[in-house]
Amino acid sequence: MLKAAAAAALLGLAAIGARAQAKPRVIPITARKFTYEPDVVTLKQSEPVIFRLTSEDVVMGFSVPDFGIRGTIIPGQATDVALTPAKTGEFTFLCDVFCGTGHEEMNGTLRVVA
């Protein structure tokens, strides 16, 4: 009986904790030969976000080397990549899956502000 009460209390605390945590902002980004839409994304430092990535044509990549995150984007399905940026500044995101003639120019900018 006591055990059950303690477990219920713990579950309640966990639920309160979850509510207290900010829900990540979802940022849709569409990739197509050879651009991202949008290609400039502004975030707040320490703001948890999820990049919801889709491709309109071929397999693409989405990589932000400065934060050590990446995802492979398969046409027809969404790929989620999570980030909570710890530092401010401007950072490059790029396609790291060779996708054709304009691959080298396929990139964008992540702006993280205080």
Partner: protein, 297 residues
């Protein structure tokens, strides 16, 4: 012809021939590979000819640059023992027929080299859109080894996977090949992309390159020659020296020197500036590779 008693590099330095920059500092060590006959020799590295590229502002001589480089190599005396092309033989195209047409033209131009021992490897422009299919039709395997006068050469393919990975299968092959080499074997790795994280923000890296370096690190005398970044770069990971080559179609900016990785425009006052090729003299005692950078024209 060089006088006897001088290495080719010493002769060229004394005679003021050709060399733009002399770069030393590769692997060092006893290089006592024992049973295999050793002697000094030199080979030529040509890289990133991007045959099929069009961009008058970047290279108005795109149709003749590779031919000029071939003529320059043919003018060398003595001739190199062999020539290596470290990838991006052709500029990429989404059209498989056009890709093969460019490869056929490239092969015809390269066949004019007097030296007939020529080793090819793919770059991502050649191989990433069809996993190396067209390259193999024209040039054979994308990763392989060969031995020359006591040096073991290993060609690593880090481009046939469009995700820039070497892959588990090739890494196992590499491990098995290295296991058969003495610890002090003279080993030269030829590849296209940098095996280390040179600047991932511009895709100048190999995703699983650290695994290859960890395997190579177990040997004392390993040197890597690569292409991809269209400029000289010299970098050490542990005891392994990595040397990138200039390209033969357009130059690229230094890593992180500007926001975008865009080709450097042609300078009409200094044609072919930033383009070039190199000869590499393999010296035995100590194990050393003397690099001489040479202009296209």
């Amino acid at each position: 012809m060089k006088p006897s008693g001088l290495s080719r590099r010493e002769f060229m330095k004394l005679a003021g021939l050709g060399g733009v920059v002399l770069v030393s500092g590769c692997a060092t060590g006893p290089g006592a590979t024992g049973a295999v006959a050793e002697s000094e020799f030199y080979f030529v590295q040509l890289s990133d000819p991007h045959w099929g590229f069009e961009g008058p502002d970047i290279n108005p001589d795109a149709k003749v640059t590779l031919k000029k480089a071939v003529a320059a190599v043919n003018a060398m005396s003595p001739q190199p023992d062999f020539v290596v092309f470290t990838g991006d033989l052709t500029h990429t195209t989404d059209d498989p027929k056009e890709r093969r047409r460019r490869m056929a033209e490239f092969r015809d131009i390269a066949s004019a080299l007097k030296v007939k021992d020529v080793h090819f490897m793919p770059g991502e422009h050649d191989a990433s859109l069809d996993n190396g299919k067209a390259f193999k039709e024209f040039f054979g395997a994308t990763h392989y080894t060969f031995d020359h006068k006591g040096v073991h050469f290993i060609t690593i393919d880090n481009v046939s996977d469009p995700m820039a990975s070497i892959g588990e299968e090739q890494l196992r092959w590499l491990a098995a090949d290295l296991a058969a080499q003495p610890k002090d074997a003279r080993i030269v790795v030829l590849t296209h992309r940098p095996l280390f994280d040179l600047y991932p923000q511009w895709d100048w890296a190999t995703r699983d390159g650290a695994q290859a370096i960890a395997l190579l690190q177990t040997h004392d005398n390993v040197t890597v020659f690569y292409g991809h970044i269209h400029q000289e770069n010299h970098f050490m990971t542990g005891n392994i020296a990595h040397h990138s080559a200039k390209g033969l179609m357009f130059a690229l900016p230094a890593p992180a020197s500007q926001p975008k990785r865009l080709p450097i425009p042609w300078d009409a006052s200094a044609p072919y500036k930033g383009l070039g090729w190199r000869d590499i003299e393999a010296e035995t005692t100590p194990v050393h590779y003397a690099i001489t950078e040479l202009p296209v024209a």
